[in-house]
């Protein structure tokens, strides 16, 4: 088998294999790039509540008052916290909580939900799983390297690397190279 044909085969088959993770990582990459503007993992729902004033200074009574008024099973309560002199928080499973002002009983029921699919691909992309996933992620990274290198030599002639290809490769190289040079010498 000629080397260029081998490159075609490698590029094609590794490309097929890597397409799913490439899409997953790319979509997650877009989401994570904009983490300052929106939360790529979770969405938040805040529902106004009014449990009435909590005219007491006993935390047990305050907690019981809140869950009773909101018809929450007391067994679900995981904890409570006096956030400030006027803010009382009751913690519920899965990150939910009730946050009320003890003076008037007004506050919020806060829920947190994951973005379906996006949350999961973010876990893969950011490798929060660690352990075995690190091996798969390493393999995927090697696949991308192979795709990039084989992609350079897919075509020969004036449309190949020796022709117009070198200008495109050079243009792409300017981005990381420019940054590296700026970091070392420009800053």
């Amino acid at each position: 088998m000629k080397w260029r044909k081998l490159i075609h085969v490698l590029h094609r088959d590794i490309g097929y294999t890597a397409v799913a993770l490439t899409l997953a990582y790319s979509i997650s990459g877009l989401a994570v790039n904009h983490i300052d503007d929106w939360n790529p993992n979770f969405s938040f729902v805040e529902t106004p509540v009014d449990v009435g004033p909590l005219p007491t200074d006993d935390y047990d009574v305050m907690q019981a008052h809140v869950v009773e008024r909101l018809e929450i099973d007391p067994k679900l309560v995981k904890g409570r916290f006096m956030e400030s002199e006027t803010e009382f928080r009751v913690f519920l499973p899965e990150g939910q909580e009730v946050h009320v002002d003890i003076r008037d009983g007004k506050g919020l029921y806060k829920e947190i939900n994951t973005h379906p699919v996006l949350y999961e691909v973010n876990q893969l992309h950011l490798n929060t799983i660690k352990g075995w996933w690190t091996w798969i992620a390493d393999l995927f990274a090697l696949s991308l390297i192979t795709l990039a290198v084989t992609g350079l030599f897919m075509i020969k002639g004036k449309r190949g690397l020796g022709g117009r290809g070198k200008w495109f490769v050079g243009a792409g190289l300017l981005v990381p190279l420019g940054f590296i040079l700026y970091t070392i010498y420009g800053a």
């Binding site: 590029h11 300052d36 006096m82 913690f91 909580e97 947190i112 992609g151």
Partner: protein, 192 residues
């Protein structure tokens, strides 16, 4: 041909992992909090935030295993942070808040109302889930103490107010804030 064109884009996207955490660089300091209103009956936070256990705690370990640092209460550190600065300690308390963008920090309730201490790990080392709220955490780390300038304090409080969806009045900040934070590599979290 199409795949060849896509590949550099993918490589660039994959290299974009180092997005900044939503968290300000450090925790809210005890000195910036309102004085404790200890008149209320019962603990400010349950489960009780007493002196941390010296033995290996039960629960799910996040990151590196605990190393057995000296156990202190959050109040001990927050009341006299300079005495613990740069020292490795173990504290425990109920988780009250978790970083929802990168999961790189959580805050624990101290022994007094309004008292909290933030436990921060390096981005990407581990991810604390929002479902940890209300659970008990045991964390080990190095106490860091930093006093912000008045301008930085205003920026910090503005950021916190924005995150909490509250209005912010810069004129309400008149004193610089001291930030006390525990920086570590691992924690154990369990149901109370």
């Amino acid at each position: 041909m199409a795949r060849v064109r896509v590949t550099p884009l993918v490589v660039l996207l994959s290299a974009s992992l180092a997005a900044a955490c939503d968290a300000p660089p450090a925790a809210k300091g005890g000195e910036a909090k309102p004085a404790a209103t200890a008149k209320a009956k019962g603990d400010a936070a349950t489960p009780e935030s007493g002196k941390a256990e010296a033995a290996a705690p039960e629960g799910k370990t996040y990151g590196a295993p605990l190393e057995g640092a000296d156990a202190v209460t959050i109040a001990q550190v927050m009341d006299d942070p300079k005495a613990y600065e740069n020292k490795m300690v173990r504290v425990e308390g109920m988780v009250t808040d978790v970083c929802t963008k990168r999961g790189c920090w959580f805050e624990m309730a101290g022994e007094k109302p309004g008292m909290k201490m933030r436990f921060k790990v390096r981005d990407g080392d581990m991810v604390f889930p929002p479902s940890a709220k209300g659970k008990k955490a045991v964390a080990e780390g190095t106490v860091t103490v930093r006093t912000l300038s008045l301008e930085d304090t205003k920026r910090f409080e503005e950021h916190m107010a924005k995150d909490a969806g509250k209005e912010f009045d810069p004129a309400s900040i008149t004193e610089p804030m001291t930030i006390v934070q525990l920086t570590g590599k691992g924690a154990v979290i369990r149901d109370s």
